[in-house]
């Protein structure tokens, strides 16, 4: 662990790491600073890697998203058509499943937990951290925000980012609030000509050590479970101290960083046009936040797992359609569901375009990013956990090969999570529980 009681800045962190001071950081992490494929910072260091998740509910219509052939992604199947512009930068995994091992299928829950935490819980309570928090603990500790979470359908609890069962990173539901949080008065523009640390920040930073000192006397009377909760609190406190540390140092300039225009309050809800509008605002803000070095981990929940998206004036939600709409005898699939999936994948493409639209030298922000998609089901109509659609987009600064379709024959979805953790520098060789436990990375995509 980096000592937190001293002032840190990027240069010092990098110096410390090069000197071997940060011994808990796995070797792959160093790659991000040495990677010659990425565009370097002014100091000569490569721009850091970025990780994200993009979640939607109800999977896709079976048979309509899997690429026709293994290997190079040539043409996209119909429900992934909106993502065609990114086919060279992404991978599609088919045939992955969640194994229940005799545990009851917690509908709209077991599948996404398996995918994101590597564990299918016995009941409806998760107890393992999600892959993004494991990665954020490695790559996100030196940014103002360890991670940023957004939920586009109005409920902060749609967040799938969890540090453990009861500690879920709440998602921002208002783009205007996210704007203020990132680009409000506490934002330091890395490209500003002058930098003057605010004396109030220095005083606050020092005052926070009194809160840190509360730990010892508070902890004495706690049981083991409560101590773990308190650990979470103090991890969060370190994050807050980190934010203030960063505000006291002039940040390294980031050529691609521009401050977006102010975002006004927008309506929130589950009506799909409202969700899409908020998602667009969020996508632009997150891309700018990453380009400005504010975070390296972003998590988007387009909707909840039990997808409550609906069309204006419609009496049924996306979820209700998934169960109640007949499979059209001629078409062979559920047409209304296909309509929703097209909207959702179109939104995902918009999100990717925001990252890809930020140029960093001859590359884009998306090129140093890896976005992992997540969903809860393979076949929503029957709550099926077979053949769950999975994708990654972006090579993470050259850590992953892209443009591939990897078909699997009923392999655990946790293989993708393990592969991405290793690519992002998490020192883990095996991940997951019961049949979701795996030590097999997807070597085909490892660069």
């Amino acid at each position: 662990m980096i000592p937190i009681n001293r002032t840190m800045n990027r240069r010092r962190v990098l110096r410390g790491m090069m000197g071997g001071a940060a011994i808990s950081v796995g070797l792959p992490f160093l790659d991000c600073f040495l990677d010659t494929n990425g565009t370097a910072l002014a100091s000569g260091q490569a721009l850091p890697v970025v990780f994200g998740t993009w979640f939607w509910g109800l999977g896709l219509n079976p048979g309509r998203w899997e690429p026709a052939k293994p290997g190079k992604l040539e043409t996209m199947n119909v429900e992934l058509q909106p993502l065609a512009p990114f086919k060279d930068k992404m991978n599609v995994f088919s045939g992955m499943k969640a194994f229940l091992d005799g545990k009851p299928n917690g509908v709209h829950f077991s599948g996404v937990q398996g995918m994101l935490t590597g564990t299918v819980p016995r009941g409806m309570l998760a107890d393992k951290p999600s892959v993004d928090t494991l990665i954020a603990d490695v790559i996100g500790t030196r940014t103002r925000f360890r991670s940023l979470e957004v939920a586009c359908a109005g409920n902060p609890q749609h967040s799938q980012s969890r540090r453990n069962g009861a500690v879920v990173n709440p998602a921002e539901v208002s783009p205007a609030a996210l704007y203020t949080r990132i680009f409000g008065p506490e934002f330091t523009d890395p490209n500003a000509a002058d930098f003057k640390p605010d004396p109030a920040v220095i005083v606050r930073r020092s005052a926070l050590s009194a809160v840190a000192d509360d730990r010892a006397s508070f902890e004495k009377t706690l049981g083991a479970a409560d101590r773990a909760r308190l650990d979470e609190y103090f991890t969060s406190l370190r994050g807050l101290e980190q934010q203030l540390d960063l505000q006291m140092e002039k940040p390294a300039p980031l050529a691609a960083c521009t401050v977006p225009g102010k975002v006004d309050e927008t309506p929130v809800g589950t009506e799909i046009e409202v969700v899409k509008t908020n998602h667009k605002l969020f996508a632009a803000l997150l891309a700018h936040a990453v380009a400005c070095g504010q975070t390296q981990v972003i998590n988007v929940a387009f909707a909840d797992a039990t997808s409550s998206l609906r069309r204006a004036g419609g009496t049924q939600t996306h979820h209700e359609f998934s169960h109640e709409e007949p499979v059209d005898a001629q078409l062979g699939y559920q047409p209304t569901l296909a309509w929703f999936f097209n909207e959702i994948m179109g939104s995902f493409a918009f999100f990717l375009a925001q990252l890809d639209g930020i140029k960093e030298g001859d590359k884009t922000l998306l090129d140093r990013t890896t976005i992992m998609t997540a969903t809860d089901l393979g076949y929503a109509k029957l709550h099926g956990l077979e053949n769950m659609p999975m994708m990654t987009v972006g090579s993470g600064g050259g850590r992953l090969k892209t443009g591939l379709h990897i078909p699997a024959q009923g392999e655990p979805t946790s293989r993708v999570g393990l592969t991405l953790q290793q690519a992002m520098g998490v020192p883990v060789s095996s991940w997951g529980t019961d049949s979701m436990q795996t030590s097999k990375t997807i070597t085909e995509i490892m660069a």
Partner: protein, 555 residues
């Protein structure tokens, strides 16, 4: 400095925990109590503490970390949540905002009990006085010497750094507001001198247990004084405080907090209704609807001292002009505000289950749901768990039928019920919810759906009825209803499910509730005066450090 020493001496508190070796058995046959719980303050509790301490003119702005529901209650989720990075970021903003108001020019003269010798410099004595008094209310116990010294030092250092006494004091106050000692309610155990080998909460933990239970607020100065003097450790001293608190108008806040939690009103925060289908529904209607139900309940239970079961049948309620429009009834009252209203005898609106807050909350965004409503009656009001639906729900029957256009919910569900894998569970939910079909998803009355007349016949465990008023009577007469509220409120107070050793206690409370004619304040009194409510299980050997006193907290 002399002044500060005096404060420090009076602030010091000795906390005895787990004296001596861990005990494996208990000396008598009383229930052994549960484990210690540590609860995060809810948003409402946080706000209440600030209002009680600094008055309503200090605004609490910001987004609080969401609470989570466990075993039917947010109060139990509070024992499991922590504070995430973004949650603490928000607590930090909220704390600094409150502190800035408190030390700001508009409030400092009324809220800070002393003046610094020099407003541009540090002042030990004044900072110490303010922080000791404020800290006691925030931490719900006097500060230890170390705690006070540390916060005075923060205030002094910041005053020097910013060349302003008040800014420094504000920064120190903010660090108290974001300390886990404020944000989490911690239970401290001590040996129980009256029952050898048993443990109970210490007096200050008792005060918090009592106050959050009855008022959903931190202990007031009188209760803290009773704790300090040891009054809460005697039956009569405890009863005196309980009676005082139940007699206070603030009991309404506590009763409202409990029913807000039990009825799941937090879900209104994200409840969606299609504005094209339900043009009358709005977030204002949702707010009024919750308030209507809470007023109905507190009026009946607290003001009228009525029978708990009558909340399911009473036609007496309170409405606003907006609600009058949803209910399609006249509003006769002074302009704006709330007015009492009584639905006429025979009306289908009877009790809280027929109110907008219930029928709208347990519906889909675009249509009603007898299933969701039936499930809510069972799970929320009767504490009966409905099994989760089978994962591989098969809708083949619905699909294969030549005419899939079932016009009413009853017809749609009828198709379901012919499938044996679905029928088992739907049978225990749908016949209840069908009684509420005369109310649409927005809560308005209707007589037909898609042109077909709505039939509101239904059944609750053999009690047949023809409409919502009949369902209301069936819930009223179901012995599970009062038993449910007893077990819910005991879990709510404890912050956890009662343990095996406490089952008898809950049974006794349920029997007592019946003997009391289902009077709710009497139930609160029974719980709040029970030794079981404050008992803590003996520590497992080796599970905890077991110093007899905390060195850092000794005077």
């Amino acid at each position: 400095m002399a002044y500060l020493s005096k404060i420090l001496a009076s602030a010091a508190v000795a906390v005895t925990i787990y004296t001596g070796a861990a005990v494996s058995g208990v000396a008598d046959d009383k229930p052994a109590g549960g484990e210690v719980v540590t609860r995060r303050l809810s948003q409402e509790q946080y706000r209440q503490v600030i209002t009680d301490l600094f008055g309503p003119s200090i605004k609490v702005g910001g987004r609080f970390e969401p609470d989570i529901r466990r075993d039917g209650l947010l109060a139990m989720g509070a024992s499991q949540v922590s504070v995430t990075a973004s949650g603490l970021e928000e607590y930090d903003k909220i704390a600094r905002n409150i502190a800035a108001q408190v030390v700001g020019e508009a409030h400092r003269d009324t809220l800070i009990p002393c003046k610094p010798a020099n407003a541009k410099a540090a002042d030990d004595a004044c900072a110490g006085q303010f922080l000791a008094e404020t800290g006691k209310m925030l931490y719900r116990r006097p500060l230890t010497q170390d705690e006070l010294q540390s916060r005075v030092k923060v205030a002094n250092d910041a005053a020097v750094g910013l060349k302003d006494f008040y800014s420094g004091l504000g920064i120190s106050l903010a660090t108290m507001l974001e300390s886990p000692k404020f944000l989490f309610r911690q239970e401290i155990a001590e040996t129980d001198p009256d029952h050898a080998g048993q443990f109970r909460m210490d007096a200050y933990s008792k005060a918090s247990q009592l106050s959050f239970f009855l008022w959903d607020a931190a202990p007031d100065p009188e209760l803290l004084a009773a704790a300090e003097h040891g009054d809460l450790n005697s039956d009569s001293g405890l009863a005196k405080q309980v009676d005082r608190m139940i007699a206070s108008p603030r009991i309404q806040g506590g009763v409202r907090a409990f029913f807000t939690d039990m009825l799941g009103f937090d879900e209104f925060e994200t409840l969606a209704k299609d504005s094209m289908i339900f043009p009358k529904y709005s977030t204002k209607v949702a707010k009024d609807a919750q308030e209507q139900t809470l007023r109905t309940i507190t009026d009946l239970l607290v003001t009228q001292k009525g029978d708990y079961r009558d909340i399911f049948t009473t036609r007496k309620t309170f409405i606003t002009p907006l609600l009058a429009s949803v209910y399609n009834v006249p509003f006769v009252a002074p302009a704006g505000g709330w007015a009492p209203y009584e639905f006429p005898a025979g009306d289908s609106r009877a009790g809280i289950v027929s109110q907008v807050s219930f029928v709208a909350l347990h519906s889909h965004p675009g249509r009603s749901s007898p299933t969701l409503r039936g499930k809510a009656v069972r799970e929320v009001l009767l504490c009966q768990k409905v099994p989760t639906p089978p994962a591989n729900v098969n809708f083949t029957l619905v699909q294969d039928t030549k005419n899939p256009q079932y016009k009413t919910a009853r017809a749609r569900l009828g198709a379901h019920a012919t499938d044996p894998t679905c029928a088992g569970c739907h049978k225990i939910m749908d016949p209840i919810g069908l009684g509420l079909e005369a109310f649409d998803s927005g809560g308005s009355l209707r007589s037909s759906e898609n042109g077909d007349t709505i039939d509101t016949h239904g059944e609750l465990d053999g009690m047949k009825f023809t409409d919502a008023a009949g369902l209301a009577q069936a819930v009223h007469d179901d012995p599970a209803a009062p038993s449910c509220v007893v077990s819910r409120i005991s879990s709510y107070g404890l912050g956890r499910l009662p343990g095996k050793g406490e089952a008898d206690w809950v049974k006794t409370l349920q029997a007592g509730f019946k003997d009391d004619g289902y009077k709710f304040p009497a139930l609160l009194r029974r719980i709040a005066t029970s030794p079981e409510f404050y008992r803590i299980a003996p520590p497992q050997t080796g599970a905890l450090d077991a110093p007899s006193k905390l060195a850092s907290q000794a005077p």
